[in-house]
Subunit: 597 residues, 2 copies
């Protein structure tokens, strides 16, 4: 059976020493987060995830969800009780507005807690995660009446949420959607259509399920500019906010999937279901984007979280499993063989995962802080700069942390040898579960196109220029520091490659957009490794500082520095391949006629 | 439901135009393989795999194997009948010695047929594949009496085979094995012990199962030099060669696994089971190596085969699925959207898989031909050179084709978006099945160590020097050919990197073996991409020749050239990353203390 221990010390190091969260105490919610409150949240979240959620992960995978003939769906044994504890702990709303019952703490705290939750069980964590995404969309786009009606119970956790975009003929290309909405005399709408792949679409955890549904109002223009967003509760909600009878939404079936068996992936049939418009008519995609951006950051962290729990189990196994002898002579001569962690190739695998996890966590929390600043600062320029960074980094976090997270789970599985392929060992579940994170919330190829096609050129490249100048300034500032040389020099090289790739797009993708799209995935990974390299350089700086200031931190900080060096020497060089591929251009990608595939 | 079409035309191009199989007609078995015989084998094998085996793959995955309370194991519905057809078709022994009922055709033909078989169903194909490995070990190491007793029925397919190495405490490190063998007065042995992870260990397809078992003779030295190989039938075999009653081998349980559900992975308990020594006492590992090398080549091809079938399904989906519009303007203006194959990022994914598959197939068949030459040539120098190449390439084929094969199956799954995660689509099974190929027959990290630690230094580097000079000579020969420049220049660059990495090992790994081991996996992939690049350059040359000679081949040969260019521009650059990692040395890999993981 796999084990999990939340990386509380690493989070503390990031918040206190690297990102220096106290610098943000001028923002609403941050000053409420005293050191004691922060510690209490981390400790309690860790405890809940390790002791309540993690034990349900393997059994939930084996049992899966069950759809009953009447359309009800029940979750695996234990999910309902664990969810009740989640609600009782007040976890859903820690970052939600206090006006509707939330605690108003930084969104960064939700990002941290959600990492722990997903490491414990992705299938379980998805139920609250989707609710938090729906809350975010309602907070920003719904009118006051809808907010009052839905938000308090959702923030409490008694009602959960979903997002309904996909239809059989319409995945990435939302302009193809057909679900129709007909306006009623009272201002509400009747929705009819079929949505598929709706995660947490029907289940027994909450009293009501609040669906956010993209649909086309009768007579709306064709394509994406004719879509509107609606809130459609599973059970009708009366004026006093209480849930009543069925509202024309039924679960037609649940999918049999590769993983996340504990989360119900539903076909939802809408038949004259009553819904209310959120935001403006035909501007549904704009409202949906809020939810999607929030969700994309969260899904990136899911990739990290599964990589983390897979790593922990592989590292523990590598220290226990005795097989072979170190090439430089026996390390455990009293035992029949050495633990396999003596072998360089096993270390290579584990260090690659460890370096990407700790670097990825830094990047995710740095980005989450940008979200907090973007949403809470009272200074417009500060907000804009943070929003730029958030927009730029969101597709990178989603795409890179999930591609790498899955690859890391696969690599961790490899450490177990044949045992890794056996269900009972538990690590193969992490691989199957992690696979979905590369697909949902916009497949990673779409993230790459979002980055290259939208985020780079936006506002004349303002966001990417600011990023380059921040990283460049850091490198310059520490260039003369002897202790920082092993980190600064490789970072500068990676930065140079990212700048060269960006320049190549400027020169070659304007005239031929295929040149941008053919290199988009490589660019996303180039950017992701460089940004993670920047995080590792900052962590190295913080580790040096802490080494001299805090004798107790010696082992932990020396481990940080060793991992930082590994990242620079063994992970960052891949940036060279990405640049070479980008600069090859689209010609050989586009040459083959479709029928020759 | 996935479909499969065996790549018969591609195999013909490789055998006839690239590898020019007619040049080997002086070897036994090759002259029997006339053009008509070759065509008949390819056509019949394709038909059997497409029509009989492939339809069982998904249902076999869903049903899995069943162990009954009495220890019997039954395979999924349809497997027994399909296996009977396999036997009736004479497929098991097409390359086996005619003295024992085989057809004596080149081993290359078995490699080809096995690729088709695995694409159709890995779980099914493993039953014969393990038998063929056992046949190979018996042919080379068993005495005449044992050969007469076991080989005819195995080559016919009425009896199947297995290999028994792993025990709970003993995986990679075979020196730790405990199964004991006690010599009897009649020269036989009684074996007692527990073997785990025995593929095809117990099932209902054949009349008897012939286990090849590694065990320790009472009083043998400790470690790997005290292990011997035995043949132990499930049912006792009398002097006349007929099967009798049980022989002390029982299936204690079967494993629940990530994939290959249709193949029974057994715990086998030996209790005074009667076996006979194969080869010399305490030299079991040498005899086992024959079987393992054969099996490693076969497993490499399994990675390719799953990549191929995953590719075929992804390519078909990409041509059908309508979503979005081409960046350069609509390509199917009469439809609601363009097929997704217009998108550069989808093409990037598909072309990467296609280029690795066709290049990998060339590499596998080239290596299989080396095996034929090594085993059949009457010239000692020719045999030695082929055996050198075979030894060098076997770990590369196993490690690279399975690492890439799995990654390719994952990439193919991505093309399906959310549908790829659904069991019904069928592509997620290819991912789960492909995962085992990176693990069994020596985990890929072990392949890399075999390459760097054993195959490179052997005989003063004779094998690798011969490989470098062959590739170098090809590049030199075609350097002035304008049409070959796009292929020769990148190949030379990759060759230079592989030579630089080899030289780095010579200079740095002798004194510190960790420097070799820390770079071993990167070296294996560097070597694999370079060798595949050599194959692509040869294919490009053959395509150019055929383009001028055969007007009917125009489309196919232009597709070859386009794919070759993609390989050179978009796949081969990764060699730069591998070299950089190798040259970073082991220091950062070894620095972190075990307790800091």
């Amino acid at each position: 059976m796999p084990h999990y221990k939340a990386p509380v010390d690493d989070v503390r190091f990031l918040l206190n020493d690297v990102l220096q969260i106290r610098r943000y105490d001028n923002l609403p919610g941050f000053s409420d987060l005293s050191g004691d409150v922060l510690d209490a949240i981390l400790t309690e979240a860790a405890k809940f995830c390790e002791e309540v959620v993690a034990p349900l992960n393997a059994s939930g995978d084996r049992e899966g969800c069950t759809r009953h003939p009447d359309g009800r769906v029940t979750t695996p044994a234990g999910f309902k009780d664990a969810y009740a504890q989640y609600v009782a702990g007040g976890w859903m709303g820690i970052s939600a507005p206090s006006a509707f019952g939330g605690q108003g703490l930084p969104e960064t705290m939700t990002t941290i807690v959600n990492e722990f939750m997903v490491s414990a069980s992705l299938a379980f964590a998805m139920y609250p995660a989707l609710t938090q995404g729906a809350i975010a969309a309602l907070v920003i786009h719904a009118n006051d009446e809808l907010k009052r009606k839905f938000l308090p119970k959702m923030i409490e956790g008694r009602w959960t949420g979903t997002m309904n975009l996909t239809e059989p003929q319409c995945g990435t290309d939302l302009g193809l959607l057909r679900t129709k909405a007909v306006k009623q005399a009272d201002g509400s709408y009747k929705l009819t259509g079929t949505k598929i792949f709706i995660s947490a679409g029907e289940h027994d955890l909450s009293e009501n399920i609040i669906h956010l549904v993209l649909a086309r109002i009768e007579g709306a223009p064709a394509g994406i500019k004719g879509t509107s967003l609606f809130v459609v509760p599973k059970l009708a909600v009366s004026a006093d906010g209480s849930a009543g009878g069925p509202n024309g939404v039924t679960c037609g079936s649940i999918e049999e999937k590769m993983g996340i068996h504990g989360n119900a992936t539903c076909v939802l049939n809408y038949e004259d279901a009553t819904g209310w418009l959120i935001g403006e008519e035909n501007r549904g995609i704009n409202a949906m984007f809020v939810m999607m951006n929030e969700a994309r950051l969260a899904v990136g962290v899911q990739g990290l979280a599964l990589s983390e729990v897979a790593y922990q189990n592989a590292a523990a196994y590598a220290k226990e499993r005795l097989q072979g002898r170190a090439l430089t002579g026996p390390k455990a001569p009293d035992k029949p063989a050495d633990p396999i962690i003596v072998h360089p190739d096993v270390r290579r695998v584990l260090l690659t995962i460890k370096a990407l996890n700790e670097g990825g966590r830094a990047l995710a929390l740095w980005t989450a802080l940008q979200a907090d600043v973007a949403h809470r600062s009272d200074d417009e320029k500060t907000r804009q700069a943070a929003d730029d960074a958030l927009g730029l980094l969101t597709p990178v976090i989603k795409g890179v942390l999930t591609d790498r997270g899955f690859a890391n789970a696969v690599a961790a599985q490899q450490v177990f040898g044949g045992h890794g392929y056996i269900v009972e060992t538990g690590v193969e579940q992490f691989v199957r579960d992690a696979r979905i994170t590369m697909i949902y919330e916009g497949a990673n190829g779409i993230q790459a196109l979002d980055l290259v096609g939208r985020k780079l050129p936006r506002d004349g490249g303002r966001a990417v220029m600011a990023f380059f100048s921040e990283v460049g300034a850091f490198a310059k500032e520490h260039a003369a520091d002897e202790a920082m040389k092993p980190f600064v020099a490789p970072l500068e090289k990676a930065l140079g490659r990212t700048q060269a790739a960006t320049m190549w797009f400027v020169q070659n993708a304007m005239g031929n957009p295929d040149n941008g799209a053919a290199g988009a995935t490589d660019y996303m990974h180039l950017f992701g490794l460089t940004a993670t390299g920047y995080m590792w350089a900052r962590m190295a700086k913080a580790a040096h500082t802490k080494l001299t200031a805090d004798a107790n931190a010696k082992d932990a900080m020396q481990a940080k520095l060793a991992t930082a060096r590994f990242y620079m020497e063994r992970v960052l060089p891949e940036t060279g391949t990405f640049l070479a591929r980008i600069q090859a251009g689209a010609e050989s990608t586009m040459a083959l006629p479709a029928e020759a595939f």
